[in-house]
């Protein structure tokens, strides 16, 4: 009831958003109401999660396919995602209260923002294929319009174009996937699909299409191309949602199909998903390291995290098919946990990127620097977010990666040789991705927030409205809390995975509350709670020791810098120079990264230039390749527009004769 009311409220808010016009306080009211609706949905989701596993009440509305009506239902999985989604949307809405006045054209954002929220939530509770897709496209459509909010920039327009194309591609894949699940009779409701029995070939296609469809929305490599384009284009609170939350909705679709609707996914698909996930994670983070645009960097980092989650999901599939239900539950819990975490810290980071852009007007790392001093709140919250996304203990990001590693380490126990050899390779990829993520965020945070300002705009960064700062602070606190009490979270998640894996699973069964011991107490365990306590104690002891044995005097002075005292901020390491060693190590073959030095002749006064050329292989060869093919065919086909009447008649005549021949041939049989 609460949920239904909140969703209707969101639709109404969209209308209010249109009516808001030029009055800024009206926009603020809309955002405030959005935040309330999100909170209501969040509470609704949490309330359901607290109940025993099982499906919630269904709502049937007389819309949608005429002979079927629209079905909505909240079960544990939807409830979990409702929590994930609305954590993000609540934060973004509160942030929006302060942020909307900084937008170039708020009238192009406010009406679509509630629609976007509505679409995402509706996907989660849809209980038939038609409503699922309608909501799904609703979500895409609203976010497309939001990407177009700053439409006067041609880059944003092409980003929106790519985004909508990819969204359409994904929708068509899901559409066909549901078509297969529903069968020729058109049993489009989810309960009917669950009962269906699939041929092996159909089952294969269903998984393939689900991966393509949901994967293109979630950003699996090579379907990730839209993320780094669309996320920077959208207003920051929207990109936070697109990156932190909408990709989760996509993964919800994947989980819904692979674990719920499709009864039995072969382990080979699990293996394939793991490999895709591994490649996505590594490619995503490598892309991220090369970016100078703050929001692009974050978008690519989303790609990486999606890869990490997908590794977990693939592992869960493989375990499930091999009968290892408990391990399947572990891997799934790990994946879900990581989604929850990523939703929080990626939202946080995008909001902070928005704060940086608002405060300085710059999003190029090369123009930022020293912001921690000008924006202490934002800086501190971002530091927490950066540490969390780098999977550093005791924050939440580490817990989920730890769980994924734990389940991954059990992977070679599967009876298939592919898995025995493949899992370690995926493990190496995951480890590489995790380490590179830390590098990426050291770079991003260090360049943007630390050091000295690299431009006048960065030096003059101004304060931000309280709503923006508080949102970030709250999210940072959540990062810490979710890392410190992991067992509470996994207990909640085990209720979600129970219907999907068919086994009740408690990751803390063996040692009790604060200890996370997935298999047994002797098989590796972790306790964020204990670690935080001990770490804090040791931190305090170190301070006491140091201050007890030594002096507390501090003197401020110029930087020593090996004696090269200077006052030129340009001499600092930039994003590009920071990335140089990694570029040389990882990207010289993958991205054909080349550096050319243009050194002037002796005596020539002109400056030397270092040019870095990086080719994105996926974009260049896959996407542009497709574009070239389409262009070439379009050129050829286009000649048909300029023929003579006689030739058109000829076409008609040929068609007629051809059809007559067909009929003649078929009649002879």
């Amino acid at each position: 009831m609460l949920i239904a009311a909140a969703l209707s409220a969101l639709l109404a808010l969209a209308v209010l958003g249109v009516l808001a016009g030029g009055e800024m306080w009206r926009h603020r009211v809309v955002y405030f109401c959005c935040a309330l609706a999100s909170l209501a949905l969040l509470i609704g989701g949490l309330k359901h999660l607290g109940q025993t596993p099982g499906t919630g009440p269904a709502i049937v509305l007389p819309i949608g396919l005429p002979w079927m009506a629209a079905h909505f239902r909240l079960d544990n999985l939807s409830a979990l995602f409702m929590v994930i989604v609305n954590l993000g949307t609540a934060a973004a809405s509160v942030y929006g209260i302060g942020y909307c006045s900084h937008l170039p054209e708020p009238r192009r954002v406010t009406p679509f923002f509630p629609l976007f929220l509505f679409g995402m939530n509706a996907v989660l509770i849809a209980d038939d294929a038609f409503m699922f897709l309608v909501s799904w496209e609703f979500m895409s459509l609203a976010s497309w319009l939001l990407v177009l909010a700053d439409h006067k920039n041609p880059e944003n327009r092409s980003a929106a174009m790519v985004y909508l194309m990819m969204a359409a591609f994904g929708t068509f894949c899901l559409l066909t996937c549901f078509g297969l699940l529903a069968g020729p009779e058109g049993a489009y409701s989810f309960p009917a699909m669950r009962g269906g029995v699939l041929e092996p070939m159909t089952g294969f296609l269903v998984v393939l299409l689900a991966v393509l469809g949901a994967g293109s929305k979630a950003g699996l490599v090579p379907l990730h191309a839209w993320l780094p384009l669309a996320h920077p284009a959208a207003p920051s609170h929207v990109s936070a949602l697109m990156s932190g939350v909408m990709t989760k909705v996509a993964l919800y679709g994947l989980i819904r199909i692979l674990f719920d609707l499709h009864g039995h996914v072969a382990w080979g698909w699990g293996a394939a998903l793991m490999v895709i996930g591994g490649i996505t994670a590594v490619m995503g983070v490598l892309y991220a390291i090369l970016q100078d645009d703050l929001k692009k960097l974050l978008a690519y980092s989303t790609v990486e995290n999606i890869g990490v989650v997908v590794i977990g999901l693939g592992l869960a599939l493989a375990f499930k098919d091999s009968g290892e239900k408990t391990l399947a539950a572990l891997a799934l819990v790990a994946g879900l946990y990581h989604m929850l975490n990523h939703a929080i810290f990626k939202t946080l980071l995008f909001l902070s990127a928005g704060a940086v852009i608002t405060a300085t007007g710059e999003r190029d790392l090369g123009k930022l620097g020293g912001l921690l001093k000008r924006m202490p709140w934002t800086g501190a919250a971002t530091l927490v977010g950066a540490a969390a996304i780098s999977a550093l203990p005791p924050l939440n990001g580490f817990v989920s990666e730890w769980l994924i590693f734990q389940s991954l380490f059990k992977g070679p126990g599967l009876p298939h040789w592919t898995m025995k050899f493949g899992v370690p390779v995926v493990g190496a990829m995951l480890a590489l991705a995790a380490a590179l993520a830390a590098t990426c965020f050291v770079r991003a945070y260090g360049i943007a927030f630390l050091g000295r300002p690299r431009s006048a705009a960065a030096a003059a960064a101004h304060r931000l409205p309280a709503s923006m700062r508080w949102t970030m602070a709250m999210l940072a606190v959540l990062c810490i809390v979710l890392g410190a009490i992991p067992v509470t979270v996994t207990d909640a998640l085990s209720g979600v995975v129970q219907p999907l894996t068919g086994v009740h699973f408690a990751v803390s069964a063996d040692l009790g509350w604060p200890w996370l011991s997935p298999v047994s107490s002797t098989r590796g365990s972790y306790s964020g709670t204990v670690l935080v306590m001990t770490g804090l104690s040791l931190f305090v002891i170190s301070i006491l020791l140091v201050h007890g044995f030594g002096t507390t005097k501090v003197r401020r002075a110029d930087a020593w810098d090996c004696g090269h005292a200077e006052d030129i901020p340009e001499t600092q390491y930039t994003g590009q120079s920071f990335a140089q060693p990694l570029r040389r190590v990882f990207c010289s073959s993958l991205f054909a990264a080349r550096e050319t030095v243009d050194m002037p002749e002796p005596g020539d006064q002109s400056p030397a230039r270092l040019t870095v050329r990086v080719i994105d292989p996926i974009w260049t060869y896959l996407y542009l390749g497709i574009l070239r093919v389409v262009d070439a065919i379009a050129d050829r086909v286009n000649r048909m527009q300029f023929l003579t009447v006689r030739r058109y008649l000829l076409m008609m005549f040929a068609t007629l004769v051809f059809m007559l021949l067909v009929v003649a041939a078929r009649q002879q049989k």
């Binding site: 005429p66 177009l148 439409h151 006067k152 591609f169 529903a182 058109g186 389409v630 086909v637």
Partner: protein, 496 residues
């Protein structure tokens, strides 16, 4: 025999009004000199026609040898007269602005209005005719009236487009007649000589004993013949130019109505075939034509620089999808095809309304010269965005529902056929959206064109039909009235 056919309906029969009002007003408008009055007479006549078509919902007249109403044509009649009305309203605004720009003389306008009503008459007659011959005559007459309207502007391009339209459709219609004769020959041994062997209502009942081979042959001619009129590739060539060069209201009715009527004719013959049971299934031919239309237009869309041709090709694309759906057959795909016909009519005519205003505002039909519509004309721009998104198949608009049903049901049965369908839809989607973004977003051009300052009355008049159509499409995407669903389902059954 003649009396049998020409038994006219009585005054209490809505069909008399539906057909009589357009025919009468066509004559009246031909002699009416004042064009301002003529636009309103045009609207009024279309309004009466629409109102009387609504009466059909209350009471269906008994079928005669000449006219009949069943589940299939009832909604098409209502749809046709509705779009006839909205287009007349739009046309009033459009003509007012065209005359401001001195593009049309009084004589031309008289001719235009008269032909508009004549066109509506032929459309409605083709839909309600219970005789294959009468239907054929009406479609032929519809061609002639529209040829004249396409050439209205007397530019070289317009004349060439009309010439092409005329030649290709005449040949097509000739082939359709041959098919009609063949059907008569197939029916004649069973039904006996005369009009009975041409009446839909009678033929369908005894179609199972018709000569199947003759029906096969007939269907090929009917398919190529009426298919030309539907605009199926590679018979489509007349369509883009005819849409592009005529006055925009005519483009709207060509796309929204004429194509539907031609398709209706084609489907009536398909009903006979499926009622026959022994004839070869026309599915593969329809699927082939559907896919070729879809692909051809999808690629063509990428090279269009003219806004009206762009949407004309999009019409070919959708006709392809619809034909594909009927080719697939089965209750779901047929339902989807019928729904798609309806949704496409509403949406495409709405798009042409928008296009008409846009090109009048911008003073050009070149896509490259149209920019930032949502900034410069928000109500028009967003309506246009909504309409193009709807035609591109995005929910919650009605086209999505039909595409959902076509694609998903096809994929469940013939994945190999669904893959090209999906690819084609995706290609077309990309072209439409990229053009849409070019036109609707970005910095609007600085120079205000001379025609950009139309009076508020005429701009409200021009925009109302657009938004009314979009509202209907939006509602239909989420909710279809029960009667309509029942009709669709019963027709879908007949279509096999």
């Amino acid at each position: 025999m003649i009396a049998q056919i020409l038994a006219l309906p009585g005054f209490d029969n809505p069909l008399l009004w539906i057909l009589g009002v357009p025919l009468g007003s066509a004559g009246f408008l031909a002699v009416l000199k004042e064009w301002r009055v003529a636009t309103w007479v045009n609207v009024g006549a279309s309004g009466i026609t629409f109102a009387s078509s609504l009466l059909l919902l209350e009471r269906r007249p008994e079928p005669t040898r000449l006219l009949f109403i069943d589940d299939f044509n009832i909604y098409l009649v209502v749809l046709t007269s509705f779009i006839g009305l909205t287009t007349a309203v739009f046309s009033a605004a459009y003509i007012a602005r065209e005359t401001e720009a001195n593009r049309l003389s009084d004589l031309h306008l008289r001719f235009y209005h008269s032909m508009y009503q004549a066109f509506l008459f032929t459309m409605l007659l083709a839909l309600t005719a219970n005789n294959t011959g009468v239907m054929w005559v009406s479609v032929e007459a519809a061609t002639l009236t529209t040829v004249l309207m396409v050439s209205l502007y007397r530019t070289r391009e317009a004349i060439e487009a009309a010439w092409k339209y005329f030649i290709l459709c005449s040949v097509g219609i000739g082939l359709a007649l041959f098919g009609t004769i063949l059907v008569y020959l197939a029916a004649q041994p069973v039904m006996g000589d005369g009009a009975d062997a041409m009446a839909w209502t009678l033929m369908i009942k005894r179609a199972h004993s018709f000569q199947p081979d003759l029906l096969n042959l007939a269907f090929v001619f009917v398919l190529v013949g009426y298919g030309t009129k539907v605009g199926l590739a590679p018979l489509h060539s007349w369509l883009p130019d005819a849409h592009a060069e005529g006055p925009t209201p005519i483009s709207a009715v060509l796309s929204g109505l004429l194509l539907n009527v031609a398709l209706y004719a084609l489907l009536r013959f398909k009903m006979l075939i499926s009622a026959n049971g022994q004839a070869l299934t026309p599915g593969p031919l329809l699927v082939m034509m559907g896919l070729s239309s879809l692909f051809l237009s999808a690629f063509m869309l990428y090279r269009r620089g003219d806004i009206k041709r762009l949407f004309a090709y999009s019409s070919i694309e959708h006709m392809g999808v619809i034909t594909f759906a009927f080719g697939m057959g089965g209750p779901l795909a047929n339902f989807a095809g019928l729904m798609h016909m309806t949704m496409h009519s509403l949406t495409k005519s709405a798009i042409f309304f928008a296009v008409g205003i846009i090109s009048q505002n911008a003073g050009t039909k070149r896509i490259a010269d149209i920019r930032g519509l949502t900034s410069s004309h928000p109500v028009l721009g967003w309506g246009f965005v909504l309409a193009v998104l709807a035609i591109a198949g995005l929910p919650p608009m009605g086209v999505f529902m039909s595409e959902f049903l076509v694609v998903s049901s096809t994929f469940a049965r013939q994945p190999l056929l669904a893959i090209p369908l999906v690819l084609g839809l995706l290609l077309a989607f990309g072209a439409l959206v990229s053009r849409l973004q070019m036109m609707a977003f970005g910095e609007p051009p600085k120079v205000a064109h001379a025609h950009g300052n139309a009076s508020t009355v005429s701009s409200i008049l021009a925009l109302t039909p657009l938004w009314v159509h979009m509202l209907l499409v939006l509602v239909a995407g989420l909710y279809l009235p029960k009667e309509l669903v029942t009709w669709f389902q019963s027709v879908a059954r007949y279509l096999g």
